[in-house]
Symmetry: C2
């Protein structure tokens, strides 16, 4: 990430204010339910298991940064969009709490997941609490000075995004029970699970910054394509990433039979597909990886996925140009998009 | 329920329209995620396990009726409040889906609970979907013709209610792990779990009907006291109700050691408490019930609970009179409150 693209400068200015906003929204009332909120603080990386303050992994805050940048890009004051930025980050974190339960994941950001410590019942309810506070955060836009019609429009986008998130998660779990999944269905799933919230983050910032409907839609489109490109990049790195850089074991996604874009493309390939299906139907260990990689290569799955990624990257940049005109090229949004898609981990 | 109080007439007119509104909000898009919505329809009592239409138990729709009645009581058109009424009923149903998972309950309205059929992961996500659609429903008020400032005010009440629900559920689960619970803490719990949504149902109808802030607050207060009285009545019936009327086995709440108001009052009684604690620390069966009932009688727990119930009933009627003046006496809200608290099941 280079200094001159303005990304670091923007983050240094706004991330501490975002953090402060989220701490206000998620603050514990001084009553018997305090523990309910302290569990949220554990998940956010603010406290340890015993609720003692500390600095733990918090994630990259990409979505709220996109929200604040979009607000500035359309000529608004990012301070007005702080409640909305906090809302998208809190919503994202709520979805991780429930996803971790649903997927049985025991580790998140190098720490035990919430449900492994406090039990599934409390963790479900803590997720519901954070879901609620995401809406509460967005409603604070009114106190920040956003007009009622903009608040209602933002809530419309936000609610549609929540519906898309649950549809995407439904499909993700449903696919795990299906032997055959089409590439188009997979793309619909990541549209719901990933692209929708990225797009909504940008749209909320745009709406609050006073964007025209055309600019708002264009920024939503930029986020939609960016989100898809980002997820496809993630899928590619999960199979061909450098383990020394990604921190994940080589072939990990293959050994887990994770339904990602390259694997589904190869499974649907007319000649490679049947052979790959046979391979995956048997127990897999590291000695099988070279055969699977050879089949993936024979199907051109990597080229297909990279083409998809680049095509969404390009479509995203077109949408950004439509939204911002000449300013698109020097916008920190452009820098962030390029950074995300050139990453190697 | 007598004809002349207007309750039946109101329900016959508005319940079918409420049902239609909820079916629109929870309608399945014709895409791969259709099954996600069909699971909601199962929980709502509209379809069977295989998603074939049928008529199953749906609950009494008390909350949406209160919402629509409050709108009419302040001079508004109940049609404007249909989206809000649908929202409170959908929110209530969402909370039941997650509560059933958290409590491990296998039966609801004489049918298997959602999680027992489709698994915990999908059921958590279906709950999240309905939580989302409760907000989507409330936002439809705008399309119904409600002004933006009223929509934002209603969303503020609704979000605060969601937070109270999760706090109440947190306390309920937390109390199960505690040997000693104070009566005041218990009342705080049912305030969050029960009274808050009843109060909010009334307030949303009032806000949408154009109530003054004073009338809105008074109707909220009416709902708050009504909700508390209703829950305390439920607690009393759980211990002293006629099994032939309630349909529950005699002493069921005692055998389950359910932390209800009369039991907690007796457990906190200076002389009876220690004896009751000893009893409950040992395995319980029906032969122990007469001893437990004798201890409850010695503590005057029933009189205490009934006094609490009547006091909330009275406070509720005062609030209703404050909100509606002379019309309070003949209002269907008054009839519904009296009906609920004179019930024997």
């Amino acid at each position: 990430m280079s200094e001159e693209n303005g990304l670091d400068v923007f983050g240094q200015k706004w991330l501490p204010r975002l953090e402060a906003e989220m701490r206000v929204v998620l603050s514990a009332p001084s009553n018997a339910a305090r523990r309910h909120y302290q569990m949220m603080h554990y998940h956010m990386g603010w406290v340890d298991e015993s609720f003692q303050p500390g600095a733990f992994g918090t994630g990259k805050r990409i979505r709220p940064l996109l929200c604040l940048m979009a607000c500035e890009a359309v000529g608004g004051d990012p301070a007005l969009a702080l409640p909305a930025a906090a809302a998208v980050e809190i919503l994202h974190n709520f979805s991780l709490i429930h996803d971790d339960i649903e997927d049985g994941d025991e580790t998140r950001r190098h720490r035990p997941t919430l449900w492994t410590i406090y039990g599934v019942p409390q963790a479900i309810n803590v997720g519901d609490g954070m879901f609620t506070l995401a809406f509460a955060s967005l409603l604070r836009s009114k106190q920040a000075g956003v007009a009622d019609d903009r608040v209602v429009a933002a809530l419309g986008r936000f609610t549609a995004c929540c519906a898309a998130l649950t549809e995407g998660q439904h499909l993700d779990m449903w696919f795990e029970t299906q032997s055959h999944v089409q590439v188009a269905d997979y793309l619909r799933m990541i549209e719901g699970k990933t692209a929708s919230l990225v797009a909504t983050s940008l749209s909320l910032g745009a709406l609050i910054g006073g964007a025209t409907p055309v600019a708002d839609d264009a920024l939503y489109g930029f986020g939609h394509h960016l989100g898809l490109a980002f997820q496809i990049q993630d899928d590619i790195l999960g199979i061909w990433g450098d383990p020394g850089v990604t921190g994940k074991a080589a072939g990990n996604d293959i050994l887990r039979r994770k339904k990602s874009l390259p694997l589904l493309y190869a499974l649907n390939h007319p000649t490679v597909g049947p052979q790959l299906i046979d391979h995956l139907a048997q127990p897999l260990d590291e000695s099988d990886l070279s055969d699977v990689y050879a089949l993936l290569a024979a199907s051109d799955a990597q080229a297909f996925a990279e083409e998809q990624m680049h095509s969404h990257h390009e479509a995203g940049l077109s949408a950004l140009a439509e939204a911002l005109g000449d300013q698109a090229v020097t916008s920190p949004l452009r820098a962030l998009a390029d950074d995300l898609l050139l990453r190697r981990a």
